[in-house]
Amino acid sequence: MHPQYTLASRTLMVLGMFAASLPVEIQAGEGVDATERSMAFIDRSSRATELFNANKPAEALAIFRDLALNYADLDEDGYAALSVGDCLAALGRDDEARAAYASALSTHPGLATDISSRLIELELAGEVTDAMIEQLRAAAMASQEGRHAAQWRLGRALQSRARSLLAEAAKAFRAAAGRETPFGSLLVGQADLLEELAGDLEAAISRADAAWGTARRPFWKRQCDGDEPASGRPLTEMLRCEWVARTKDGCRIEFQVGRDGKDGQVQVTANGKPIRLTRAQQLAIQRHGERINSILLEAAMSSAAK
């Protein structure tokens, strides 16, 4: 879990409780009906929010739509209006989501920045265009405010583009190998490696998405009703292996690598002495370990089937 997530969730719970304990501003003399109507708006907003966060955007959408339509005078912050777009985005109905965001902007101009962010996220969730990349490059260079968010989005856009380009390159090599050339096997081998890299990149993107978890709803895992998908990565319960390597100058080093399921950290010794891995090294070993897992599991199942 992301450290900010942990801090934020703990802090928010306390602050949320504090917030709702503050004194309220109340309009005298406008009668019970106005009060009850305002209470109903809050009750139904709460219900719709719970449904949205429970990954039931279709059910939430019905309520938010009604609130945006029939309680527009109480929706001063544009919460219901914006949520209509969020539900549609979660349902993958992108064109309708864009229309809903445009509608929310027309009634709540103060939401321009929020809506702009959502529209960019919609783009990033699909095939990233050159225009989007250029737009993000400009935003990442331009202003101080929002620069980090723009850089983050630019990184995601570029990695998405890289994934597409790798796949396209592999396809091109494979197509070229299809013609009778003396280097056909070389080209196929290159295509295999590029596909491997594309798969590796895909796994890295998925891992990053998973770290954000449901906090990035509606733009993360845009599935509709139903449970959140479980991670498809095979887990290594236990790891014990050793091998011998030689350095360029001929030194012989015996590595022993182990990992238990408790903290997931890889422990390595070199010639019997523990060596310390950086975070990046840990991550790289974990990533390659997962890939080796997949290869071996696939091979094992294939053998069993035969």
């Binding site: 503050l22 501003e25 019970v32 009060t35």
Partner: protein
């Protein structure tokens, strides 16, 4: 923790109002609201607070949809009335329930049915520990003849017990410090300070007639946020009418408030050996309230608050300054502005003997919520 609202309820229980001079069989045209305590007088109330809206969080965390429902069943008992007119009132939190929806998941817990589910969302265990520790807690208050509390006991103890439950030995130092700050924030002295404001629905002068209005202003320091709440309220007696089988004053309320905080002190240089600051010491906190609706029904004969409905909108902005002396690299950085835009509501109802909110004048239970112990 719904301190202000809770306190309003606490004071509501022992209130007693003398009927107007014209004790006619139908409704009087004026009533006098004044405090009067009766030893053994007991009321049970359910207080439900809701908050819903958006939260733009620190850093890159995207805006979240947030809703929270916090429900308390309270028993308020007047223990004794002293010769000087002060009263000792005890409030027990019989039941606490909470639903919180954020980060794409829902956390729910009720101390009346604490059974755990097989797959609970993250955070449920924290909520369970906190509220289990709070349930059954008692606050004891001494309240002056003017309705102002002069002493509060039990709040600090309750909070300490609650946060002790969260400390599994792995709590980072800055979180533990935050717990300490919250204990101070919501501790006895601060609760008493809050409570001193909550006789404001009572007019200074009586009797009042339908259409009469009265005003209040108040100020409440929140040292831990380097700020204070300044509030003012306008109250109006809208009607004197029967409600849930009781003779009630229907009071319209307009209260506004604003909270502003001073910027946190400049950070020490990198070479300083000053201790790490607590989270709240680093915060700049701003709060803006805006319009809403609200109505209270008071039984002016018994002094019981029969029903209260209130709503409000508010925007809260929190910034966290950098602290080069913080424990971790992550915590040394300044966090960007966190903005919460929330609609909140308060429901208060009397409970009958079965713990069900009194809802209809036809129900006999309308009077069952109040008992006078021998």
């Amino acid at each position: 923790m719904r301190r202000i609202l809770t306190i309003t309820c606490m004071l509501a229980g022992p209130w007693a109002a003398a009927g107007g001079p014209a004790a006619e069989p139908d409704m009087p045209d004026q009533i006098e609201l004044r405090l009067k305590y009766r030893p053994g007088h007991v009321t049970r109330q359910r207080v439900v607070n809701k908050a819903v809206g958006s939260m733009k969080l620190f850093g890159l965390l995207p805006e979240q949809k947030f809703s929270q429902t916090f429900e308390q069943d309270l028993t308020i008992r007047c223990r004794s009335v002293n010769a000087d007119g002060t009263a000792v009132v005890e409030m027990t939190m019989d039941r606490i329930a909470m639903k919180m929806s954020i980060f794409g998941s829902n956390v729910e817990f009720d101390t009346a049915s604490p059974a755990t589910r097989a797959a609970e969302p993250p955070g449920t265990d924290v909520v369970r520990k906190m509220f289990s520790a709070m349930a059954g807690s008692k606050l004891t208050m001494t309240i002056g003849p003017d309705g102002r509390p002069t002493n509060v006991e039990g709040a600090r103890e309750m909070l300490k017990k609650m946060f002790d439950q969260l400390d599994d030995g792995n709590v980072p130092g800055f979180v533990r410090k935050m717990y300490d700050q919250l204990i101070n924030l919501f501790g006895d002295d601060n609760v008493m300070q809050d409570m001193q404001q909550y006789n404001r629905m009572i007019p200074d002068k009586g009797p009042v007639r339908v259409g009469d209005k009265w005003d209040r202003k108040w100020e409440m320091k929140i040292p831990v946020f380097n700020g204070k709440v300044e509030g003012e309220g306008q109250y109006e007696l809208l009607a004197i009418e029967e409600f849930h089988g009781r003779r009630c004053a229907k009071i319209g309320i307009k209260e506004s408030f604003r909270m502003g905080g001073s910027p946190p002190p400049e950070s020490e240089s990198e070479t300083t050996t000053a201790p790490a600051k607590g989270i709240f010491e680093r915060m700049t906190f701003e709060l803006k309230g805006s319009g809403g609706e609200g109505t209270a029904y008071w039984d002016y004969e018994s002094g019981d608050l029969v029903q209260l409905r209130q709503t409000q909108r508010m925007t809260m902005e929190i910034s966290l300054a950098a602290d080069p002396n913080a424990e971790t690299e992550e915590m040394k950085k300044a966090f960007g502005k966190m903005v919460q835009k929330l609609n909140t509501s308060l429901n208060l109802d009397l409970l009958d003997d079965a713990g069900v909110p009194v809802a209809s004048p036809s129900e006999k239970s309308a009077t069952a919520t109040i008992t006078d112990e021998p």
